[in-house]
């Protein structure tokens, strides 16, 4: 037995795993059936293998028991991932239903396999595992990805709604179910009040984020988005606190009666648990932000710091019987802002992806347990209890939504409309949280745990499938604006133009806040916190190379996508054009409209889109980069043409989040001096310094133009041979001073040559567009050496 070592089973194991993978990969579409059969096979074989008694030292043995838990968990996660791939390969499915539907189905499938093969599922899910390992990543993720600013702007309403809503739901459902239990005909007499309240508290843990992705495309307004997000964020915490307190009461109740003092103590405890958790979270958030200040030389551990401190805050809070969930949320929210500015870009990406990954693994596991426990014999079906649970869940959610919003609307300057309230009501989808809490009920205290679990499952299935699938259409139906879809191209275009215009003018007007507290905090933040928590000076080289990388990546993307789409679409359209411009079939018009709707830049939004299951590259970020690069491109053109440009002082402005920049990076003096000759330090438009480009022969400038696409990402790399001219010198000065960084980036040349004309056509057009100003954004580089503007109108008039 003892000799049965690693060597024999390892290759075998891997072979099997590979076989599974290949099996899955071969039919790369929606292949749940094949997966399942593969796995069933596996399970059967393993079951058979592990049951064989081993008598003597054998050359070839199998120790499945040894690896069973990690092995099966790995397979589950893989299966869920493959299913997700299939789910997203299909374009229509993700819009139709939330992804949790899919996860539940996968879970049910695994459950069926396990049930069918009579295989005992590994006892992975128990209370400590759930609370110590599965829950924290999920909470951390939602805390970290919360849009901080709108959250605090709506803080009052969110707290009111999420806090009181959860309590109202919990007690409402609990009490009304208790009344139902009093009816002797239902046979529920032994379910006492406390148990009902506990059940209510776990039923009140809604998971509305699951549906956020579904109606994202319907563009719900920002307030609504925030309310739903905030509810998801705080709801878990509140219901878990309530759950724990009620469990404590139940334990106590077993031995002695509960007195009013105890109830008061419970209320006090509720508050202390919540506030204490938040307090510890904030403390740890600040500590981790402070520590990331010093990690510049060992950036590989930056993500570790973030994760460990968040986890530590959870553990510390739990040690003190405070709410770990609220602690980790508060920690994430606190540190996010500072950490993101401190850590390097790669660490930032790592943090984001790792967080998503961990939380999705946790959730997948929970859903699989759910599936496993759905299909099995551990159910107690009581029509009355289950139906009433379902009904009360809806009723109480409706009551709490309409009552609480009725009250809070009186204090809001911009109340939530009835439509908004309907959407909030309808988004009350129960998810992994409720199930876990139900699943973890101690059997000793809850003799009818099975009943609770069954009822929870029914509610989850009902809400996830029925509500989750219909919420998208509902939002679209309620959204009147979307109903008159048949717009002419003109309307479509002009409407978007006006949206951009309005957004732009709003930006000019500035954002006015009436939250004194927030402004106070901001002041405090600028004065003290940032100074302590944020690195003094980032290494400049990383700054520059980062910008270059961004720029190049984007340029390559642009070019590639341009090539792709030009090969894909251009021919038919061109043929169309040469044939007859007047006659366009309705399909063509339709396709044009389609192209327009899909490709027109979106109006900037302040809440970034959030998807619980995926981390998409933010379209807004991509779009911003694209716009900036295009402008830059134009700017280069106009500069080459010899426009005189007023130069301004750099502004310490900063906008885009994904860059880890200091709030105001002090300009290195040398750089300033270098550009001083080009810089009008008065920062006004008074007299642009006369710069002549006499060295430019027309021919040369044409050549320059041809080169321009290459220059965009790489600045002066290819320019060594060309005579010095304005742009070159400017770049060179920067290059000398800052950029050892991204200098040696080499890129396959043909890529750009192949698409020269793509760029050129754009350039040409931009040249002719005088009003397309030439702004080199100060966004990407706060404290960059120059800001440019020219006045096309002057030229024109």
């Amino acid at each position: 037995m003892g000799v049965r070592g690693l060597v024999p089973f390892c290759p075998w194991d891997w072979c099997l795993l590979l076989a599974t993978l290949q099996c899955c990969g071969a039919s790369s579409e929606l292949n749940r059936s094949t997966d399942s059969s593969a796995q069933r096979e596996l399970n059967v074989r393993f079951a058979a293998a592990s049951s064989q008694p081993a008598e003597a030292i054998s050359v070839f043995t199998l120790d499945y028991d040894y690896v069973q838990i990690p092995y099966e968990v790995t397979l589950w996660i893989l299966l869920a991932s493959l299913a997700k791939i299939g789910f997203h390969l299909n374009r229509r499915l993700p819009r139709l239903m939330p992804e949790s539907c899919l996860l539940i189905l996968v879970g049910a499938l695994v459950g069926a396999v396990i049930f069918g093969t009579d295989h005992k599922s590994p006892p992975v899910m128990d209370s400590s595992i759930y609370f110590l390992y599965l829950l924290p990543p999920i909470v951390l993720e939602s805390g970290y990805f919360m849009p901080t600013r709108p959250f605090f702007e709506n803080l009052g309403s969110i707290l009111w709604w999420a806090g009181l809503g959860a309590l109202l739901n919990a007690f409402g459902i609990g009490l009304s179910l208790y009344l139902v239990c009093q009816v002797p005909a239902f046979g529920l007499g032994d379910v006492n009040l406390l148990q009902n309240l506990l059940f209510g508290s776990l039923m009140s843990a809604v998971d509305p984020v699951a549906v956020l992705a579904v109606f994202e495309e319907a563009r719900v307004n920002e307030q609504l988005h925030m309310m739903i997000f905030g509810e998801a964020l705080l709801n878990d915490g509140i219901s878990v606190v309530l759950y724990n307190i009620l469990i404590a009461f139940t334990k106590m109740h077993k031995f002695e009666g509960i007195e009013p003092v105890d109830i008061l103590a419970g209320c006090a405890r509720f508050i202390i648990v919540g506030c204490g958790g938040v307090f510890f979270g904030v403390i740890f958030g600040f500590i981790s932000a402070f520590i990331t200040r010093f990690t510049q030389n060992i950036s590989a551990i930056e993500p570790l710091i973030v994760f460990m401190f968040s986890y530590l805050s959870y553990l510390v809070a739990e040690t003190l019987y405070l709410s770990g969930i609220l602690a980790i949320t508060a920690c994430a929210v606190t540190m996010k802002k500072y950490v993101e500015e401190n850590v390097s870009q790669t660490s930032y990406t790592t943090i984001k992806y790792f967080m998503k990954m961990l939380s999705s693994v946790s959730e997948t596991l929970i859903f699989i347990f759910m599936g496993v426990s759905t299909i099995g014999k551990n159910h107690e079906w009581n029509w009355a209890f289950i139906c009433f649970t379902l009904v009360f869940c809806q009723i109480w959610r409706a009551i709490s939504v309409f009552v609480l919003f009725y009250v809070s609307n009186r204090f809001r300057t911009f109340p939530f409309s009835v439509k908004d309230q309907c959407v909030i009501f309808y988004s009350g989808v129960r998810g992994a949280g409720s199930f876990s809490l139900a699943f973890l009920l101690p059997l000793s205290l809850f003799p009818r745990k099975k009943l609770f679990v069954t009822a929870t499952l029914v509610v989850i299935y009902f809400t996830v499938f029925i509500q989750g699938i219909t919420v998208g259409p509902l939002v679209r139906y309620l959204d009147v604006r979307k109903t008159n879809k048949k717009e002419s191209i003109n309307e479509e275009l002009h409407a978007r133009l006006m949206d951009h215009l309005k957004a732009g003018v709003e930006d000019v007007c500035g954002q006015w806040s009436h939250y004194q507290v927030r402004d106070k905090f901001k002041k405090f933040d600028h004065k003290y916190l940032r100074k302590v928590l944020i690195r003094k000076n980032l290494p400049k080289s990383s700054l520059v190379s980062l910008y270059k990388k961004l720029e190049m990546k984007q340029a390559i993307e642009m070019v590639e996508s341009g090539v792709l789409s030009s090969t894909a679409f251009s021919t038919p359209h061109q043929a169309q054009r040469t044939k007859e411009t007047k006659r366009l079939s309705p399909e063509d018009v339709e396709s044009m409209r389609d192209i327009l709707t899909r490709n027109m830049y979106q109006v900037r939004q302040r809440t970034l889109s959030y998807n619980k299951y995926n981390l998409q590259p933010q379209t807004s970020e991509k779009q911003a980069k694209e716009i900036l690069i295009r402008r830059r491109n134009t700017f280069r053109e106009s500069m080459k043409k010899g426009h005189s440009l007023p130069w301004g002082k750099p502004a310490g402005t900063k906008n885009i989040r994904y860059l880890s920049f200091p709030y105001s990076s002090p300009l290195p003096a040398g750089r300033d001096m270098k550009v001083a000759e080009f810089t009008d330090h008065d920062g006004s438009d008074s007299e642009p310094p006369p710069i002549m480009f006499s060295t430019h022969s027309p021919k040369e400038s044409i050549q320059e133009r041809r080169w321009a696409p290459e220059v965009i990402p790489m600045r002066s790399l290819h320019r060594a041979g060309t005579p010095p001219h304005f742009g070159y010198r400017r770049n060179a000065s920067r290059e000398e001073h800052l950029g050892r960084g991204g200098r040696a980036i080499l890129r396959p040349k043909p890529l750009f040559h192949a698409v020269d004309e793509e760029f050129e056509s754009e350039e040409e057009s931009e040249e002719e567009a005088p009003a397309f100003g030439s702004l080199l954004s100060s966004e990407l580089r706060p404290g960059r050496d120059c800001n440019l503007s020219h006045s096309p109108l002057l030229q024109r008039k």
Partner: protein, 267 residues
């Protein structure tokens, strides 16, 4: 026999009232934040620090030398706005509070305290830089190629975006010129974003330029050109291959311009 081309339709009260924030309205919570400031009761609670707020709100605006000079009590502050009364008359009733706000914002944007805004000042507004139409929007603040934007000019441009007030509309003396925030003026403002050469027509070329700005790079030039052709064709009624203002207005007949081109905070 053409139907009246543009009707100055009364604003739909539901659209501008509290229900303004229907789900899907892009306006989002933006105005909501600004809103409290307009309630006099709340504004009073701001205290002397109020003048600083716009700067903080538009945190992207950056620093302004001599910021402390902008601090002051409300009354003295209001007095410092040049020509308040004539400005109010001219721009329709932009409220006192709004004017004060705008003046604060104006000063915050004017980094160097020179008393007027240059293009550069506006270009340094972060969000505008990534607005595909940012440059055109900035240009529209500088009519006729001027280089300076003074406060009355600033307000005059923004007055186009004041929400349409229905009562006011009803009481208006027909002899008076249309207020800046009328439907036609709003449309005209949008129109001049297209019409670069100010000839009163959007030519095919101008349409194409606008499209180029607003459409991502995935769309090819050919596609854009055919879209531009089609767009012009669709709106062009007299067959001159360009869209005149009247044609432009007509193509947007069904759209609720009053809502689309109004910013709540400019009440």
């Amino acid at each position: 026999m053409k139907p009246p081309v543009v009707r100055a339709r009364p604003a739909d009260p539901a659209a501008l009232g509290p229900a303004f924030h229907s789900p899907g309205s892009r306006v989002g919570g933006k105005e909501r934040r600004g809103s409290g400031a307009w309630l006099p009761a709340k504004a009073a609670a701001f205290g002397p620090g109020a003048t600083r707020r716009p700067r903080l709100g538009g945190g992207r605006g950056g620093r302004r030398p001599g910021g402390s000079s902008a601090m002051g009590s409300r009354s003295s502050h209001a007095a410092r706005i040049p020509d308040v009364d004539s400005l109010r008359r001219e721009t329709g009733s932009v409220s006192q509070a709004s004017l004060r706000r705008l003046y604060d914002r104006f000063q915050a944007l004017d980094r160097t305290g020179k008393g007027y805004l240059s293009r550069l000042d506006l270009q340094q507004i972060g969000a505008l830089a990534v607005n595909p139409l940012g440059d055109r929007i900035i240009d529209s603040f500088f009519p006729d190629g001027s280089l300076r934007l003074d406060f009355p000019g600033f307000v005059r441009v923004l007055a186009h975006f004041r929400p349409v007030d229905e009562e006011e509309e009803g009481n208006r003396d027909p002899k008076e010129p249309e207020p800046l925030n009328s439907r036609m003026n709003k449309l005209r403002f949008a129109f001049q974003l297209y019409d670069l050469d100010r000839d009163g027509k959007i030519s095919r070329h101008e349409m194409l330029q606008a499209l180029r700005l607003m459409v991502g790079v995935q769309v090819t030039e050919e596609q854009l050109e055919s879209i531009a052709d089609r767009t012009v064709q669709e709106a062009d009624e007299d067959g001159d291959g360009a869209v005149s203002f009247l044609e432009f207005a007509k193509s947007l007949e069904k759209m609720n311009i009053e809502q689309k081109m109004s910013i709540r905070i400019l009440k």
